[in-house]
C-alpha cells in the first residue's frame, strides 16, 4: 500500500533539493530510511546530488526523532533529512 508522508529538508540538503518540504507518496517497496534514500536519488539530479553516497552523509529523523538508516518508515508521518548538526 502506498503511503503519504511529509518530507523535510534542512541546511545544505534543503539548498540542494531546492525546497524545504514536500508531500510525497512512498512506493510500497520502501521499508527503511536507507530504501528511501536510494529512492530519493532516482527523483532527479538535485536529489541525486543531495543524497549522493559520499562523505557528507545525510542524517534522518522520523516524526522528530533521530533514526538510523535501518529504521522502518512504515508508520512515519514526517521524515526529515539534514547534515550532521552544528549548533551550540
Amino acid at each position: 500500500m502506498d503511503r503519504a508522508v511529509k518530507l523535510k529538508y534542512f541546511a545544505w540538503v534543503r539548498e540542494k533539493v531546492g525546497r524545504a518540504e514536500e508531500d510525497v507518496t512512498l512506493p510500497a517497496s520502501i521499508a527503511t530510511v536507507a530504501d528511501l534514500i536510494i529512492w530519493q536519488r532516482s527523483r532527479g539530479p538535485e536529489y541525486a546530488d543531495a543524497f549522493a553516497a559520499g562523505q557528507r552523509v545525510v542524517r534522518a529523523a522520523i516524526d522528530q526523532t533521530h533514526v538510523k538508516p535501518e529504521a522502518s518508515v512504515m508508520s512515519a508521518r514526517e521524515i526529515a533529512f539534514f547534515p550532521p548538526v552544528t549548533g551550540g
Binding site: 523535510k8 534542512f10 541546511a11 545544505w12 529523523a61 522528530q64 526523532t65 533521530h66 526529515a80 539534514f82 547534515p83 550532521p84 548538526v85 552544528t86 549548533g87 551550540g88
Partner: protein, 158 residues
C-alpha cells in the same frame, strides 16, 4: 526545566534569577554561554546564520535536559538557543544548571552542551568576509566529547 529557541538575545542574570528566585536550597549555579567567534578556519567571518528544525529542536532539547535531570540532582536548568543571523561577539546559546553542589552543576552543564552540540537539530552557516558563505562541518571532537558520558552512570542510554 525550560527550553527556548528564539531570535532575541538573553540576559544571563535574568535567566539565573528565573531559576533560583525564592529558593534557599541552591548552592551552585553553572552557566555556559557560546558566542560567535570572528573567524573560522583562519577566515574572517561577517556573521553566522543558524537554521533549525522547529518542533524537533524543542523536543530534542527537552529530551537532553530530562536525561541530565535523571543523572544529576539538579534543582533547575535552562537551555536557550538563538536562531537567525548573528554577528561576531553575539550570544548563540545559554545553558544554566542549578544544584546544591558544584560537581553536579558543572557535570550537567557539560553534558547538556555535549549533547546539544551533537543531537539538537541546528545548522550553522558562516558568511565569510568578502561574500562567500558555507555550511559549517560537524566536528569529530564534539562526538568524542559526547561519547565520554556513555556508560558513565547507571541507566544512562548514552
Amino acid at each position: 526545566m525550560s527550553v527556548r529557541v528564539q531570535a532575541e538575545d538573553f540576559d544571563i542574570s535574568v535567566e539565573i534569577a528565573r531559576l533560583t528566585q525564592g529558593r534557599s536550597d541552591v548552592g551552585a549555579i553553572v552557566t555556559f554561554t557560546g558566542t560567535v567567534r570572528g573567524s573560522g578556519g583562519g577566515q574572517a567571518i561577517d556573521a553566522i546564520t543558524l537554521e533549525h528544525y522547529p518542533g524537533m529542536t524543542e523536543a530534542e532539547l527537552e529530551r537532553i535536559e530530562a536525561r541530565a535531570h535523571q543523572r544529576w540532582p539538579l534543582q533547575a536548568s535552562s537551555i536557550i538557543h538563538r536562531i537567525g543571523r548573528l554577528a561576531p561577539g553575539e550570544n548563540i546559546v545559554l545553558v544554566v544548571t542549578v544544584s546544591a553542589h558544584r560537581q553536579a552543576a558543572f557535570e550537567a552543564a557539560e553534558f547538556l552542551m555535549d549533547y546539544l552540540k551533537t543531537e539538537a537539530p541546528f545548522w550553522k552557516k558562516e558568511d565569510i568576509a568578502g561574500g562567500s558563505a558555507h555550511w559549517v562541518d560537524a566536528r569529530a571532537a564534539d562526538n568524542a566529547a559526547r561519547d565520554r558520558w556513555t556508560g558513565k552512570a547507571k541507566g544512562e542510554p548514552g
